[in-house]
């Protein structure tokens, strides 16, 4: 919708008046033509349907939008009514205004429905997410991996060599801040969502699974005959970022249900950690609360199931559906897996690298594929290590992401109809400010060099694997997070295992972890977050997105994360290729239909 300044003034004036209702999708929503969504109108009092007027562009709601209509006189047992219209799809692009009037009260929202261009520019999309990847991660990975000398980087990362770039805003429906659930959901549905939610708007519904739904990219791809999709992550595959490809829930913690949502969507490739939510509750290691055996269900559905690197690298060339689960929980980070001689990976010693998972996913997805694919690859521990202020591990996982991007770029060279996007879901408050030099005199803080005192760090990469040979060199990067709980700053990498900055005390507050107190020169840093914060938090700062390939030229300037969805669907000409009904949902799919909507049908 082209909002004139007059319209802005009018809607601002309306906001001051009594509102008739809260409406979902929200005002200013951008919606892919043909994608499914739910309309929900929440009144703040009990109403009779005949007393209100709901219209779309001036015409009665039910004459304009087709969907499953339901009127609830008292939602959540309180005297407040709700109107639902579920499974709506608008095929005609244009501006739509939904108005609700009741007596002299009125509310309205405007949506912009966009259709894809006729010409399909890209056959394949490879979407990389460095979870929590901030500018410092890109800079730090470049310094550790390539080196820097006399003011110039000695080399470029793969993600540095992409021609298009945008600044991405990551705020949420309910807050200026964000988490991985709603931000990844925004990339993959084109709609904003709320913290902890994916594939839904946050409404006043009590049931996690009964909020107004949006259609994520995985489900859209399933409606394009012959098209494939894959999800690769070193987190649990049912964690927020990978899960957002298929999930529709208000709580990312519904991991057992998200596994079921993956099963219903039948991704062609699904690789990562998190097997605990696939195992029936009777199996030691399971985190399910029922007896469903999803390993068995995927196997029965024709999936090849692999559980370690040797199995992953020896799958048959005829593999078309692949499930790889390499850890019961999150997979371990690249530093502990490949370089540290520590205890971290003792339980699962043969976990694959993100590069191997990326290469295998590309091999399986691209084989005999006319209709193309969407592959999402996440380096999850960039974030999971930044939370506990463990920047060395976070940077190492950034290098691993970059090496996976290089593999995708090789694929794109042979398949030029491939668009590659590299972005983050949100940032952390992290900055590189100089070096820490053991040769300097004094306390540890006196060894921090800034400005001309910083000089250059002395990391080496003698074996040329793109990773520093040693993180604990005598002159290393000085990196600090700008928000933290109480903790001991050691100015040194934690080689034995991921840093645990704070632990809860008997008052329920997080206190500095005494385990690091006796590290030479350790210095107590009093936190600047509330005392119930266990670790560092996400920043509201913009994300840097880089992209290459056909269609990627539409990334530029400042964009909302939701705007990226249009760039991708435009490149794929997706709205022209959608079939109405999903024909590929398995017969024994898991039922997530909330009770109230079943009643409506």
């Amino acid at each position: 919708m082209r909002l004139s300044s007059l319209a802005v003034i009018i809607s601002a004036a309306l906001a001051a008046q009594a509102q008739a209702a809260t409406i979902f999708p929200l005002d200013r929503a951008t919606i892919l033509a043909g994608s499914y969504f739910d309309v929900k109108v929440e009144f703040d009092q009990e109403i009779k349907p005949e007393d209100v007027n709901i219209s779309v562009n001036g015409q009665p709601l039910q004459d304009t939008l087709k969907g499953d209509y339901q009127f609830i006189a008292q939602e959540n047992g309180t005297p407040a009514s709700t109107v639902w219209l579920r499974n709506v799809a608008i095929k005609e692009a244009g501006d739509y205004t939904l108005s609700v009037s009741e007596g002299d009260k009125e509310s309205k929202v405007s949506w912009s429905v966009f259709a894809s261009p006729q010409e399909q520019k890209a056959k394949n999309i490879i979407f990389f997410v460095g979870d929590g990847m901030s500018v410092a991660n890109r800079t730090g990975a470049r310094i550790l991996s390539k080196g820097v000398y006399e003011g110039k980087a000695n080399g470029r990362l793969a993600m540095d060599q992409m021609p298009y770039m945008a600044m991405i805003g990551t705020s949420s429906q309910d807050t200026i801040a964000s988490d991985s659930a709603n931000t990844m959901s925004a990339y993959l549905t084109g709609h904003k969502s709320a913290v902890n939610a994916m594939g839904v708007y946050l409404s006043r519904s009590e049931d996690n699974l009964d909020h107004p739904r949006q259609e994520p990219l995985g489900l859209l791809v399933r409606r394009v005959p012959g098209m494939k999709f894959g999800v690769v992550s070193d987190a649990e595959v049912e964690d927020a970022t990978p899960g957002a490809m298929v999930a529709q829930t208000r709580r990312r913690g519904d991991k057992d249900k998200i596994v079921g949502m993956f099963y219903n969507a039948q991704p062609d490739v699904l690789l990562g950690g998190g097997s605990a939510y696939f195992l029936p509750q009777t199996t030691p290691g399971s985190k399910r609360k029922d007896d469903t055996d999803f390993i068995q269900k995927f196997t029965d559905a024709g999936y090849q199931v692999v559980t370690n690197n040797s199995e992953l690298t020896s799958i048959g060339a005829d593999t078309t559906k692949l499930l790889g689960l390499f850890n019961t929980g999150n997979m371990d980070g690249v530093y502990d897996r490949r370089f540290a001689k520590n205890e971290v990976t003792a339980k699962f010693p043969d976990q694959p690298d993100l590069t191997t998972m990326t290469q295998t996913a590309l091999d399986v997805l691209s084989k005999d594929n006319e209709q193309g694919f969407v592959l999402v690859v996440e380096s999850a521990r960039i974030d999971k290590d930044s939370h506990p202020l463990d920047w060395e591990r976070s940077f190492m996982n950034t290098i691993m992401l970059d090496q996976s991007i290089a593999i995708a770029q090789e694929f794109a060279e042979k398949n030029p109809d491939t668009m590659i996007v590299v972005t983050a879901d949100h940032t952390h408050g992290i900055g590189i400010i100089g070096t820490v030099d053991d040769e300097k005199e004094g306390e540890m803080r006196d060894k921090v060099g800034t400005y001309d005192e910083a000089g250059y760090p002395n990391y080496t990469d003698a074996d040329g694997d793109g990773y520093p040979d040693d993180l604990n060199v005598s002159k290393r990067l000085a990196v600090f997070y700008n928000n933290f709980p109480d903790h001991y700053e050691t100015y040194r990498p934690k080689l034995d295992g991921v840093f645990v900055p704070a632990v809860k005390n008997e008052n329920g507050q997080y206190a500095a972890n005494e385990q690091y107190k006796d590290a030479p020169g350790a210095q107590l840093r009093i936190g600047n977050l509330p005392k119930d914060a266990d670790s560092g938090v996400h920043a509201v700062d913009d994300v840097i997105l880089t992209a290459q390939g056909p269609g990627a030229e539409n990334y530029h300037g400042y964009m909302e994360n939701t705007d990226s969805f249009k760039v991708i669907t435009d490149a794929l000409a997706l709205s022209n290729r959608l079939q109405d009904e999903s024909s590929q949902i398995p017969e024994d799919s898991v039922d997530f239909t909330p009770p109230s909507s079943k009643a409506a049908q």
């Binding site: 990312r252 195992l279 399971s286 390499f326 809860k504 972890n513």
Partner: protein, 131 residues
């Protein structure tokens, strides 16, 4: 630190001795655990932040938990935990204080009726002391 067992030699099971094998398709209890099911054993570990200040149920972990999975959807329990049902209520200790728990070893899937928490390894009728 190395503790020498005293006269009434109790069966001490180390956190590293709970499982004989790890696979994404499921863990297997160690022979040491299997041999001691139904018997009194001692396990040392850390008390995870419990739901209430005084309760008869808590989770024992190998390392101090920096996060409370009961409180945060973002967090999750480590794989190797032991659920402790106390003989009688005890006031909880600091979470970074190592404790020694003695109780009757039990295996098999069990859903706590109050919290819905599912566990596969428990100590029943347990008591604990701070170390």
């Amino acid at each position: 630190m190395f503790l020498i067992p005293i006269a009434t030699a109790k069966t001490i099971i180390d956190f590293n001795q709970l499982y004989g094998s790890f696979s994404p398709l499921g863990l297997e209890f160690s022979d040491r655990v299997k041999e001691n099911v139904g018997k009194e054993v001692v396990i040392k570990g850390f008390m995870a932040p419990p739901l209430k200040a005084e309760a008869q149920f808590f989770v024992l972990t190998k390392m101090p938990m920096s996060i409370c999975p009961f409180c945060s959807t973002d967090a999750d329990w480590p794989t190797d935990i032991v659920v402790i049902y106390l003989k009688k209520k005890q006031t909880f200790t600091q979470y970074n204080q190592q404790i020694e728990v003695e109780g009757r070893l039990e295996t098999g899937s069990w859903t706590d009726p109050d919290t819905g928490f599912v566990s596969q390894l428990r100590l029943r009728d347990a008591t604990f002391t701070a170390l």
